[in-house]
Structure formats: structure tokens, C-alpha cells
Amino acid sequence: MLKKMTIILMLVGIMLVGIFVNAEIAFAEKSDVVGTLKIWDMEVDNAFSASWGFAREEFKAMYPNVTVQYELKTFEQMQEMGKMILSSDEVPDVMQCNKGNATAGMYASEGLLTDLTAEAEARGWADIMGSSFQTTCRYNNQGIMGSGNLYGVTNYGEFVMVYYNKDMFEQYGVEVPTSMAEFEAVCDKFVVAGIAPISLGGLTGWPIDHAWYELVLYKADRDLINNYQLLQGDVDFQGTAYTFGAEKFAEYATKGYFDPKAMGVSYDDANGAFVQGKTPMNITGSWWYGSALTGITDYDWGIFLLPGKNLYEGSGGDLWVVPEKAKNKDLAYEFIDLTMQKEAQTVMANAGGIPINADLTQITDPHVLDLNRVFSSIVQKDGLAFYPDWPVPGYNEVLIPSLQELFAGTVTPEEFNNAISIPYNEYKESLK
């Protein structure tokens, strides 16, 4: 009996000491915290780098004795090396991560990411994001998005749109199209004038995905999107949507709507051609908006959504994730929290981003207001359709070469859809 009492007393003692020590940490001044915070992101010279750079400075001011080790990575580097890095011991404490099954989902299902569900509830991130943005933050134990624990936190939205050169439109007497037929008429007008209407960075690869999938979405509905992304139900690659998308893409390539040399042009060069006024339109995402704001100085420009449809590539933005092996998770949460707050979010808006928690009354730039207005219109009609490479890990390695072949006309739309269906179905089978 005495022995039992002693053990109980000891346990109570240990608990009390634990509570006391915890309270010490909680009550300690932030300026007393000593340590290191390793942050990795993939953004440079855009709205996100501006916002997160601002948050980093806030963090440094708040934690003067914490060393912030910031490293800039490239998107391609993280896509290819992400898994190796996350399973090594050299992980950062907080990291920007592409969303979707193929990346965040795969990492989460393999236990490489920290479950942020409790933290997101406690700190109010879940409320800030709302349910629609959480779709790409939650992954089940198979790594499929939409349900399960919250493994990432996003603080912006993104979508794919058409950037257009207003001066060139005026010069060639064309207006912003409101239907697919009108859009094609605009393209025809430029082709006749010897100008490639749409910039496309085919050498980089993934920009082709975006151009093609925007066309698939003309005939897609929410069920197809969900089935495709969540690897459930029936996805008919020879059905209406995929057939239409592949045929239209091949047709646009043949008609010269994209620069015929586009497969030898990198993403940066394609954007450069638009900035220099060599092409009147550029189909890319809102992540490029900040570059357009600062880069285009010689003419007036605007944006529109590819007309005549209701679904567009887009989603909540990339995620902040905390690697399972991170050494300073509490500091990582503190940093993420700063990026979610109004101050950093307003910086993002002013730099041309689509923040989810900004004070939009403080925005004056008409371009930025326009961007946020268009995004809101998509969200309101439930029009975010995600991206085509998400369902299967490494799917871009199938989509890109196949699209390059479709562009070159060496495969038919039917062959193309067949080629991309095989790895998709193989992966779907492997999950059973």
C-alpha cells in the first residue's frame, strides 16, 4: 500500500513539475526564446515573397534571439526532391509545399508531415480558410485530398486566367471575348496578322498542362472533377470532356493559336514574350500576377477568364507544411500564424496576390482589385477545378510528353487520351 502511495505521489510530483515547466515556457517572454527556425519557400519577386518576407521580419522582431534560416528553393526542385528531403534528417521546420494527392497527399500518407488539425483549430486558421480552401489541406490515409486530417495550411487562392495586352487588342480591333467562338475569332485575327496569339512555355512542360486542361474543363462537370481528383467513380478518358479538350488543344496547335515554336520556349521566355508585347495573350496563373504588375510598363493590360465555361483551374494556394521530423515545430506554428494575419495578408494583396484574410479596403490598385474580384466570382460559382497533374504522383511526367506529342501532331487526340489514362488507372488500381 505504502509502495503504491509513493508511486502515486511521485507521479503527481512529476506532473506538477511538468505543468510548472510548461507554464514557465508559456509565460517566458518571446524574446527569451533561443533557437533556429528553418523556412523554405519557392517564391521570389512576387506577392507571396513580399508577404512572407514581411512575416519573416515580423517573426524576427518578435523572436530576436531565434535565428531564422531562410532558403529559397525552386518549384521543380521541390517537386522532384521533396520526398527525399522530407524523409531525411535535414528537414526545414516549415516548408511551402505543392498541394494535391501527388505531393502533399503522398507526403502525408507516408507520415512525412505533421498533423496540423489541432493547431489549426486552436489558432483559428481553420476558420480563416473556411471549408472550400481546406479541400486541398486535408488528406486521408491514402493521401487523397478532401477529407481526413489537416496537413497543410494555405493563405491565398490561385487560378488560371488569360492575361491580355489591351493595346494590342485595340490595335487589331478585337474585344475581350465572351464565348469560345469569340475567343477563337480573336485568335484567328492575330494569326492572320502573323502574330502567335497565345504565349506558351512548352519547354518547361507544366504550362502546357494548364492550357490543355482549361479546354477539357469546357465540357467537365463537378462530378467528373471530383472523380478525377479523388480517384473514385468513373473517369472516362475517351468521354466528352477529355475528347473535347484534346481535340481543341490539337486544333489550336494546328491553327497556330500557340506559337508553333512553343515547345522550344521556356515558361520564363513565354512570359517574357507577353511582357515585351510580342504576343497579345498569356494563359497562366495568378502566381504570375505580381510579375505582370511590376514587369509590364509599356502598355495597358488586363485579365479575363477563358469565356463560355464555369470551371477553371485553381484552388487554395500552396501549403505551409511542418515536416514530421522538424525540430522546432512551435516556432514553425508561430511563423505560419504570422502569415495568416491581416498585416502580412494585406502586403500580399498589394503586391498582386489573392490573400484569404486581407483587409481589401486598403487596396487601391485597380489591377489587384480586379484580380480579387475575378477570383471571388469563381469561388462564388464553385468553379475551382484544381489541376490535372494532382491525382497521380509524378503524373506530369506522363502528361507533359504526351501533350508535347499531341502538340506536334504525332499522336491523335484518341491516342493521347489513351496514353494518359493508363498510368492513371494503374495508380487507381494500386490504391485498392
Binding site: 512548352g202 519547354l203 515554336k261 522550344g264 520556349v265 504522383p393 509524378g394 510528353p401 506529342e405
Partner: protein
């Protein structure tokens, strides 16, 4: 007992004596052997082992036997990658070696005689220069040069009125692989050149004097004396270039990533794609294993041929 037997026994005795004497040296082999095991043998065995599994890179690999190999044989990407590698081997081995032979002869026989050592060194260094540039830099610079809209190649063609010849060099399925070949040839020329010039310096001038006395022309001297005498160097250059070309990775990674379509896919890059990007580690390991076997066979074949040649010579 014949003289031959005696000499044989003496040899064995000497070997035995020397082996016991030399045992102390074994210690010095340990670091090398350890590194060899760690860097070559262990990863090689691990790779072969992985090729019989299905593994995403995390978790436990699942043994699948020869499934990956069976899949590879039917995979058109796999076959295309080796077809492209073969084309690269043919062009990138023969063309620089031939150019290297001619240039080495030209510099050694003509430039050195007419213009002296300084100019000869200038040319040798000049041709070798690409070899010291990191391959990633080479790739990026060539990508600029081949850029379809403002690259220097198309720009030059337009400047001389050859607009019809302009291409999207890296973006066109018919020109992408030849473009990478051009880049690799340009990069490679300096290597055989330097080896061959060194080989030429090794040849005894007496042989040439004798040829001159017999009235041989420069060309005859070159084809009947020089080339046969530097055959060992030619073997080394061809073998190392074949291996280098079979392992082509960075050149494709920096420029086309295997595209457009599958026009420039090569085994190393295809393996990398599967290994790292598509999380199909077992399949990636299969491709590398096949590549290793092929490189091994080529190396063994060449070394055997070389030994045979030496014995005949």
C-alpha cells in the same frame, strides 16, 4: 627438367617470397577497399535488390520478382530511351573521336611545325576549354543559343537569309535529339584531342625519319604510322566516351527533360524520373540495373578486344 620448367618454378618461388614480404602493404589498401565497398559495391547491390521490388521510396519494399523487368521489355518509353542512348553513343563517340584524330594530327604535324609550340598549345587549350565548363552551364548556354525566338542560331540563320532553316531546335521532335548531340559533340572534342596529342608525342621520331627516307607523304605517314601506333589511346577514348554517353543525364535534364514527347529520353533520365519524381523506385532501379549491365558488357568487350590487339601486335 627443362629450362622452361625451371624458370616457371623460380617465378612461383619469387612470387611467394614477395607476397610474404609485401603483406605489410595490405593495410594501405583498407581505406580504398572500404570506400569501394561503400560507394560502389553496396549501392550497386542495393540497386539490384531494389529492382526486384515495388517501392515508393518510403515504407517497406515489396518483393515482386522479375515483374519490373517484364514491364520494362514491354514499355515503349524504356525501349525509346535505349534507342536514343544508342544513337547518342554512335554519334557522340565517332564524330568527336574522328575530329579529335584529324585535329590532333593537324596540330601536331602542321601547326607545331609551321607556327611553333605556342600556337599549338593555344589550339589545344582552346579545343579543350568546353571540357572544364560545368555541364549545367553548357546546357543553359546551349538552351539560350537554341532558343527559337531570340536564340543566336536562329538569329544567325535569319541574318544570312536562311529563314526557312530556322527551327524550334529543342522543341521539335525531329531536331531535339540532334541538338543535344551537337552540344555533346562540341563539349567532347577536346577530350580525344588532348589524349591523341599526348599519344603523338610518345611516338619515336625515328619511325617518322625512316618513313621520310622511304619517301612517305604526310598523309601516308599519318594513316600508316601514326594511327596504328596510337591505337591503344584510340581504344581508351572510344571506351570511355561510350560509357560517358550511355550515362548521359545532365545534358537532357538541363535542356529538354526528355521531351518533346519522348524525343530525348535517355535511360539515366528515365530512371531518375521513375526513381524520384514518379515514386516508382523499383522500376527506376530496374532501368539503372539494365544500363549497368550494358555498360559492363561494353567495357568487358572492349578490354578483351584491346588485349587481343596487344597480343597480336
Amino acid at each position: 627438367m627443362t629450362h622452361k620448367d625451371y624458370s616457371h618454378n623460380t617465378k612461383i618461388a619469387t612470387l611467394k617470397a614477395s607476397s610474404s614480404l609485401n603483406k605489410g602493404y595490405m593495410v594501405f589498401l583498407i581505406p580504398g577497399v572500404l570506400l569501394f565497398l561503400l560507394i560502389i559495391v553496396f549501392p550497386l547491390l542495393a540497386n539490384i535488390g531494389l529492382s526486384f521490388t515495388k517501392w515508393s521510396g518510403v515504407g517497406t519494399p515489396v518483393w515482386v520478382g522479375f515483374t519490373n523487368y517484364m514491364k520494362a521489355i514491354r514499355d515503349s518509353y524504356f525501349l525509346t530511351s535505349f534507342k536514343n542512348a544508342l544513337l547518342l553513343v554512335i554519334t557522340v563517340t565517332t564524330i568527336p573521336t574522328l575530329i579529335g584524330l584529324l585535329l590532333a594530327g593537324f596540330i601536331f604535324e602542321y601547326i607545331l611545325d609551321k607556327f611553333g609550340r605556342g600556337i599549338a598549345i593555344f589550339f589545344r587549350v582552346g579545343f579543350y576549354l568546353p571540357q572544364i565548363v560545368p555541364i549545367v552551364v553548357v546546357g543553359i548556354v546551349w538552351r539560350w543559343m537554341l532558343q527559337p525566338n531570340w536564340g543566336v542560331l536562329n538569329w544567325s540563320l535569319k541574318a544570312v537569309g536562311l529563314d526557312t532553316l530556322t527551327r524550334s531546335w529543342l522543341g521539335d521532335t525531329s531536331t531535339a535529339l540532334p541538338s543535344i548531340m551537337m552540344m555533346m559533340i562540341w563539349f567532347q572534342i577536346g577530350y580525344p584531342l588532348v589524349i591523341f596529342i599526348a599519344a603523338l608525342q610518345r611516338i619515336d621520331p625515328v619511325v617518322y625519319d625512316a618513313a621520310d627516307l622511304d619517301g612517305a607523304s604526310r598523309l601516308q605517314r599519318y594513316f600508316y604510322i601514326t594511327i596504328p601506333l596510337i591505337r591503344p589511346e584510340i581504344f581508351v577514348v572510344v571506351l570511355t566516351t561510350i560509357i560517358y554517353t550511355l550515362k548521359t543525364f545532365a545534358q537532357v535534364y538541363v535542356t529538354t527533360k526528355g521531351g518533346p514527347g519522348r524525343a530525348t529520353i535517355v535511360p539515366s533520365y528515365f530512371s531518375y524520373q521513375n526513381f524520384f519524381i514518379r515514386s516508382r523506385v523499383g522500376y527506376g532501379a530496374t532501368i539503372t540495373t539494365v544500363l549497368t549491365i550494358i555498360i559492363g558488357l561494353v567495357a568487358i568487350g572492349f578490354i578483351r578486344m584491346q588485349i587481343k590487339q596487344e597480343q597480336e601486335g
